[in-house]
Symmetry: C2
DNA sequence: TCACATTTAATTGTTCGCAATTGAATATGG
DNA sequence: CCATATTCAATTGCGAACAATTAAATGTGA
């Protein structure tokens, strides 16, 4: 039984994996929003905090490499986190080009308040952990192949 | 054999499907950029054009529902497409609240030039069509569950 | 050593993305 | 028929995201 023609048309919106990823990212953002509002964070700010909760006192460049973001995005974002008293920004003394980002005590403390976020997301995705893990692994593999293709 | 503790920590960046989706969306965007530059479109503008190539003379609201975007995003974007002579914006005569978006002849013509975009994306993803289709279906299902969870 | 390249953040300008509000047009209930 | 509610697009304000440029610090080779 042949598929409908429309399910094969590569120029159709609903056949494009990129739109699926794009719209899923926005859907995630809308689920995160009310949870992060209570922490006073936006989603990209939350990502930066996740990086810092794993390793503190990190140069801006390292944060950028982990999150695939550049200084044009991170510099103003980090200034907002500093204004919110969650991080400190200090020039490295060994290499004056680098700016090191360190958590304040409030920044450290926020990690505990943020513990309830992942379980809420899990509930909203209405999906088993193992399914989510395997989807995540597939998406990461695709992302890495795309990033590899950019270098050419 | 037990997993490492870090692979179970839900507060770790690399364990979060949302970050996988977020970073994959940006990776797609970077792959699309040089392709769309030749068409004079940004990625969100390309999405609007995909909608219009499927059905012309559509109210802003319908475009927003297809793309999960609101008028705050679409109104200025559509004005840019109009300035680029790709669409026309006209108030509906039956319902003066609605603004109908119609393709110009240039807008129609651009569809042919855009035919080469999906194959280039496929090549960059370095993945079989059937794998991409099943990933897309899983991601769409997740997105729809997330969007359903927002209503509560 | 010194000219030159590279690295690192910051800056500028454009475009998304969304919350909140506004104002006009339309629909609805009494 | 009329007051009220709803719908739709536009607007405003803020925070990403990124390209392109700048400036300062550091590395490198002749």
């Amino acid at each position: 039984m042949p598929r409908k023609l429309s399910t094969l048309d590569p120029q159709r919106l609903d056949n494009q994996i990129c739109f699926a990823v794009y719209s899923a990212a926005h859907a995630f953002n809308r689920v995160y929003k009310p949870l992060l509002d209570r922490l006073g964070l936006t989603y990209p700010q939350y990502l930066v905090m996740l990086v810092l909760w794993e390793r503190d006192d990190v140069p801006v460049k390292d944060i950028g490499e982990k999150l695939f973001l550049d200084s044009g995005t991170l510099t103003p974002l980090l200034k907002r986190l500093e204004a919110a008293h969650l991080v400190k920004r200090t020039r490295s003394s060994e290499d004056e080009r680098q700016v090191l980002i360190a958590l304040t005590s409030q920044g450290h403390a926020l990690k505990e308040k943020a513990r309830s976020v992942p379980p809420s997301i899990l509930a909203a995705s209405d999906c088993s952990v193992s399914e989510l893990v395997s989807m995540k692994d597939e998406i990461v593999a695709l992302r890495d192949r795309l990033n590899a293709a950019i270098g050419d």
